[in-house]
């Protein structure tokens, strides 16, 4: 099967001259769509900016995985089979990316993820790259924050590759006396009462949650509603740092301790921030800047005359590109060579950047 796709791809490019496409992989509908739409907007804006001066225009397209690893491989196959597809910006989350990368590799499609942070993606494939630091950087940073804000830390994850992976790294960075207890929930759960009882019984003063914002919003509400746990410090990674978290959790989200490798567009790239707001009439999301830059990398490759998947992948592997607000280059493992981690919090219903870690 792999042989067939590889054989089809090169001959097909001829049929596509002047009509090349860059795909975005992520959730455009579903509970995780907020993050995906913000990322896709970044991709579209980069392509729009590029097309203003470019001789060969590029089109933006997307596959909507709803962030699900069970849907992403079939959709990735569509990209592989699309003669005009030169590369993929994505996937948005780790699980869907882990599932789709082997399919892209089969078709030789280069991939740059703006936001998948699971360490299992390091060295995963010669076509995979990412512009953000992985959870081997984020996990210890979260453990450090947890230890800074409290003494007994209770670790909960959502059993996804991302959440479970991040929780594991946090646990490894805590001593026995610092780890008050653990639990794992399932994605989509609404009943956190037994978890809250466990946090209470463990007398934890910090809860770390490895997971995404829909469940985190319900969890933080359940914690705040119980008099015994209402003052615990809530620490979580980039999966929770999203406008939807604030919307769903309301004032309970205030004061959460959050991290992300992503940079705030407003301070890192103020000019782009203005252009983005003018274009979409809304605030950019956490990984909008990274998505813009991931697309920018592809566009620089195309600008230099690379119009096959193989030559673009080679370009990505070798070149250093100055994007907006960040410089990008990839090591042989596919990971970013610049390592950045940021601490955020929620204040007055807004995501606020606190410091570089």
């Amino acid at each position: 099967m792999v042989g067939v796709t590889v054989a089809v791809a090169p001959s097909a490019h001829a049929a596509c001259a002047g009509n090349y496409k860059l795909y975005f992989q992520g959730a455009l509908t579903g509970p995780y769509a907020e993050t995906g739409i913000n990322e896709y907007n970044g991709v579209k804006l980069a392509i729009k900016d590029y097309n203003k001066t470019a001789s060969t225009k590029i089109d933006a397209d997307a596959i909507d995985t709803q962030a699900s690893g069970s849907q992403s491989p079939a959709l990735a196959k569509k990209v592989v089979d699309d003669e005009c597809a030169l590369g993929v910006i994505g996937g948005m989350y780790s699980g869907e990316t882990l599932a789709a990368v082997p399919v892209y590799e089969g078709g030789g499609v280069p991939v740059i993820s703006p936001s998948a942070t699971n360490p299992a993606l390091t060295n995963k494939s010669p076509v995979f790259h990412r512009v953000v630091a992985n959870d081997l950087v984020q996990g210890p940073a979260l453990a450090t924050i947890s230890k800074r804000v409290g003494k007994k830390i209770f670790v909960v994850d959502d059993a996804t590759p991302y959440g479970k992976g991040l929780a594991k790294i946090v646990k490894l960075n805590l001593s026995k006396s610092q780890l008050a207890g653990t639990d794992a929930v399932t994605e989509g759960t609404t009943n956190f009462s037994s978890v809250v009882s466990k946090v209470k019984a463990a007398k934890a003063d910090v809860v770390f949650y490895g997971g995404y914002y829909p469940e985190a919003a319900i969890f933080i509400k359940a914690l705040r509603d119980n008099p015994a746990t209402k003052n615990v410090k809530f620490v979580a990674g980039d999966g929770v740092l999203d406008g939807e978290y604030i919307k769903l959790a309301g004032k309970n989200a205030e004061g959460s301790f959050l991290t992300a490798p992503g940079l705030p567009m407003k301070t890192a790239a103020p000019k782009l921030y203005k252009a983005y707001k003018a274009e979409y009439k809304k605030e950019p999301g956490l990984y909008t800047l990274e998505s813009y830059n991931a697309a920018w990398f592809f566009l620089q490759a195309i600008k230099k005359g690379n119009t096959t998947r193989a030559s673009i992948n080679k370009f990505i592997d070798e070149e250093v590109i100055k994007g907006v607000g960040m410089t990008m280059s990839f090591g042989p493992s596919g990971d970013s060579e610049s390592i950045v981690m940021n601490e955020y919090t929620i204040k007055n219903g807004q995501m606020v950047w606190v410091r570089k870690l």
Partner: protein
């Protein structure tokens, strides 16, 4: 990664786990009754019942939208809570009840008339369930919906480790009231007599002048209203919904109905409370992600020993 057993929590948090288990069980029971009533009269598992529940949660949300209650608003004072909640439960009951009647008419009635096999009805039920879930997925963009806080959740009093809050008390008392009314309807009304007659022997009931279609419609209506009421309690307690919320609650409620003995109204109650407690205890001891493993192992064990469930089928034997 294996489970880490922690039995000490059963002792230290026994009261809070038990109290929450009863609250969850009460919500399951309201949904489980719909499965069991329909099974009683039609010998059919109405797999779309979970979506009838979901429609109820959406109706609750729609009412708060229409009343302009935002998710940032402070909880209501008791008197206005009672008013608002009465409106919500009536609208949700009507929405779910009407949906259940329409569902019966569209998905089952014709199959019944044509004397199609039960399997066809089952497939039709699953189809209807998918249709409704996906429809609401599109309508809501499959996002999680946050429901405003209607009642203050500060504890009123404390029993051992359990914080007794108004919303939980409200769920338990409200559900108990509905069971009482249902019991009266089934055992002491003409409609109840009809339901019991049809569940015992459909052919004979027809000969005795029972309008079977009417009884079936009304059974769906009652099941739907109970699910709608359950959805109102669910929303006050959990304050969130989404297109596939019915699946999460429906699987548990259906399991509870089977555990107690499907077709048996008291069985649905016993099964629901048993399941609510099993889920709370097992997720505390083993971890939340083991909850369903434990639940289904217990279900299989009960069915191996007693295939009719804890209380067996009793509706058709007039022992409700």
């Amino acid at each position: 990664m294996g489970a880490t057993l922690d039995f000490s929590i059963l002792v230290s948090e026994f009261a809070s786990l038990t109290f929450d288990g009863i609250v969850v069980g009460a919500i399951y029971a309201l949904v489980a009754l719909g499965y069991t009533l329909v099974y009683g009269v039609l010998r059919l598992i109405n797999f779309a019942h979970s979506e009838i529940f979901m429609i109820g949660t959406m109706a609750c949300y729609a009412v708060t939208l229409a009343l302009g209650i935002s998710t940032d608003a402070d909880p209501l004072v008791m008197s206005s809570f009672v008013l608002v909640f009465s409106l919500i439960i009536v609208i949700a009951g009507l929405a779910s009840g009407a949906s259940a009647v329409v569902l019966e008419f569209v998905a089952y009635r014709r199959l019944r008339k044509m004397k199609a096999s039960r399997l066809s009805s089952l497939i039709s039920a699953i189809g209807a369930s998918f249709f409704l879930t996906e429809l609401f997925r599109i309508l809501t963009d499959s996002k999680n919906i946050a429901f405003p806080r209607l009642i203050d959740k500060e504890p009123i009093f404390v029993i051992s480790s359990a914080y007794v809050t108004a919303d939980k008390l409200f769920v338990i008392v409200g559900a108990a009231l509905l069971f009482f009314i249902l019991n009266r309807v089934i055992n002491h009304s003409k409609l109840g007599l009809g339901i019991r007659a049809v569940s015992q022997d459909e052919t004979t009931s027809v000969l005795m002048g029972v309008n079977v279609n009417r009884v079936v419609s009304l059974t769906f209506l009652i099941g739907g209203i109970l699910a709608g009421a359950g959805s109102a309690f669910y929303m006050v307690f959990y304050e969130t919904t989404k297109a596939n919320v019915g699946f999460l609650v429906g699987v548990s409620a259906f399991t509870a109905a089977v555990l107690g003995g499907i077709g048996n109204v008291r069985g649905a109650l016993v099964g629901s409370f048993a399941l609510g407690l099993i889920q709370q205890y097992s997720s505390a001891v083993l971890g939340y992600n083991w909850r369903d493993v434990v639940t289904f192992v217990i279900l299989v064990l009960v069915l191996l020993v007693k295939p009719t469930g804890l209380l067996g089928e009793a509706l058709q034997r007039a022992r409700v």
